[in-house]
């Protein structure tokens, strides 16, 4: 059963299982997960760049850990993520907190882990990036998205990563975000250079 479970874009079904329960293991340092399989960090960075650049409507979802400059270094990381989004040409919608929002959210301007699908549907997002979201809430949202939408999910995690995302990087820091941006810029140049 292990190895076989693929973490693919949905909609997977009414209540999809947690990938971890299906045998998908988190990557070790220097590794990453792509669709449930372990790959090197570098390979995953390229995969993320490709996914983002080929997306019709990619969006970044920065969470509270990035939106608020609550400790040293956060503002810089936030800027790097914004630069990455800009390099991709992606939109940015924040997840300011995790409360079950009453009476409703405005899906045009925010995303909430309890009903992330609303924001994805409303904005017709085909590839999204979670970053700066506490792991528990990211996982909840990632499963709901995989269950009910066809959105391709990417998680840039400062901790151990997320099996429930289609691509998951771990130990993401400022340098890694900048590395990803550089790869994106590189690929864009290649596309522009080789393009018609």
């Amino acid at each position: 059963m292990s190895q076989e479970y693929q973490v693919l874009a949905g909609p997977e079904g009414y209540l999809p299982p947690a990938a971890a329960v299906m045998g998908v293991e988190l990557p070790k340092t220097g590794e990453a997960l792509v669709e449930g399989s372990l790959v090197s960090d570098t390979e995953a960075l390229h995969k993320i760049a490709d996914k983002l650049l080929s997306a019709k409507n990619p969006f970044f979802f920065p969470g509270p850990l990035l939106l608020w400059a609550w400790k040293a270094g956060v503002a810089e990381r936030a800027q790097a993520v914004r630069d990455l989004a800009d390099a991709v040409g992606a939109g940015v919608i924040p997840m300011p907190d995790y409360r079950p929002k009453y009476p409703m959210i405005n899906p045009a301007i925010e995303i909430n882990p309890n009903h992330p699908n609303l924001t994805i549907w409303h904005n017709k997002i085909d590839v999204c990036v979670f970053v700066g979201v506490h792991c528990h809430y990211a996982n909840i949202a990632l499963k709901i998205i995989r269950g009910g939408t066809s959105c391709y999910t990417i998680a840039l995690c400062g901790e151990a990563g997320h099996e429930d995302a289609m691509i998951s990087l771990r130990d993401v820091n400022l340098a890694k975000i900048q590395e990803l941006t550089a790869i994106v810029m590189d690929k864009k140049r290649q596309i522009a250079g080789g393009g018609k």
């Binding site: 990035l66 939106l67 608020w68 400059a69 503002a75 936030a78 940015v92 924040p94 409360r99 929002k101």
Partner: protein, 285 residues
């Protein structure tokens, strides 16, 4: 001063939704605003699901406006109507279980004392009458016996409102409610007196019909809890839904109950607390 948790990362400042921006720009954090200034600053509370005319909601609004340091306040709640409000309040809040709020607060307060020995982190329990006087009474009282540095606030609507209006220990004798089909057959529990006997250094009974007075009680309770000892504030918060009165009558009902002597605002202060209070209120003048 504005704490870092309230500072927007410049890179994302343009996409922060308005309600958060207003909290940062015009909220009560780190500012000397209170009940008198209501209507002129962004309140900590957003739209909540409580009934129209809810006395408890009104009390919570006043409570949140009365916090001496919302930027360092953690509220511990309990199951009940109030726990439906706190997800929409911009202070950190723990809803653990029904009745265990004062135990959770004891652990939390001691943990925060360990982690932030030089800061006053206000741990405030806000729970209903069922949670405080019935299911959680032993834990409420033991937190007082242990002299925990926490404030306990009871929102007393004299019934289990969230579950549909059952009798509670705080209901008035004779009241017909669910589970008291023939009328409640024992008197309202004397929580303020119990609190005084159990070691609270400051006890107050207040009403949102007198918001400035209530604010003063809440502020005193929170400030005294920091270093002197446990404090207790009981707030009468009528429930139009379960007591079946018109939802525009909540405040008049409060005034009527007071006039009829059914409800008596009062304060108990220990000598030690009074001395501390004199100093505190001297400084603020």
């Amino acid at each position: 001063m504005t704490k870092n948790i309230l500072k927007m990362s410049p890179a994302f400042a343009d996409i922060i939704p308005a309600e958060y921006r207003e909290l940062v720009d015009n909220g009560p954090y780190g500012r000397d605003v209170g009940v008198a200034e209501l209507g002129t600053f962004k309140e900590l509370l957003e739209e909540h699901p409580l009934c129209a005319g809810c006395g408890l909601a009104l009390a919570l609004r006043i409570f949140l406006a009365s916090l001496p340091a919302p930027e360092d306040t953690i509220v511990v709640g309990s199951t009940g109507c109030s726990s439906l409000v706190f997800p929409q309040a911009a202070v950190q809040n723990i809803h653990s279980l029904f009745g265990n709020q004062n135990s959770v607060a004891s652990g939390l307060k001691r943990a925060l004392k360990l982690r932030f020995p030089d800061k006053d982190k206000d741990v405030i329990v806000v729970a209903g009458d069922g949670a405080t006087a019935d299911i959680g009474l032993d834990m409420v009282m033991h937190s007082w016996f242990r002299r925990e540095n926490i404030t306990t606030i009871m929102l007393d609507n004299e019934a289990y409102a969230n579950t549909g209006g059952q009798e509670s220990g705080m209901s008035q004798q004779g009241t017909v409610l669910y589970m008291a089909p023939k009328g409640k057959n024992f008197p309202k529990i004397s929580m303020p007196e119990l609190a005084r006997e159990a070691g609270c250094v400051y006890v107050a009974v207040g009403t949102p019909a007198q918001p400035r007075k209530l604010e003063k009680m809440i502020k005193r309770a929170i400030l005294l809890a920091r270093h002197i000892g446990p404090t207790y504030v009981q707030i009468m918060t009528p429930c139009p839904t379960n007591y079946k009165f018109k939802n525009n009558e909540t405040v008049n009902r409060l005034k009527g109950l007071e006039k009829d002597g059914v409800f008596k605002p009062r304060e108990y202060i220990t000598a030690e607390a009074q001395e501390a209070l004199n100093k505190l209120e001297e400084v603020s003048k």
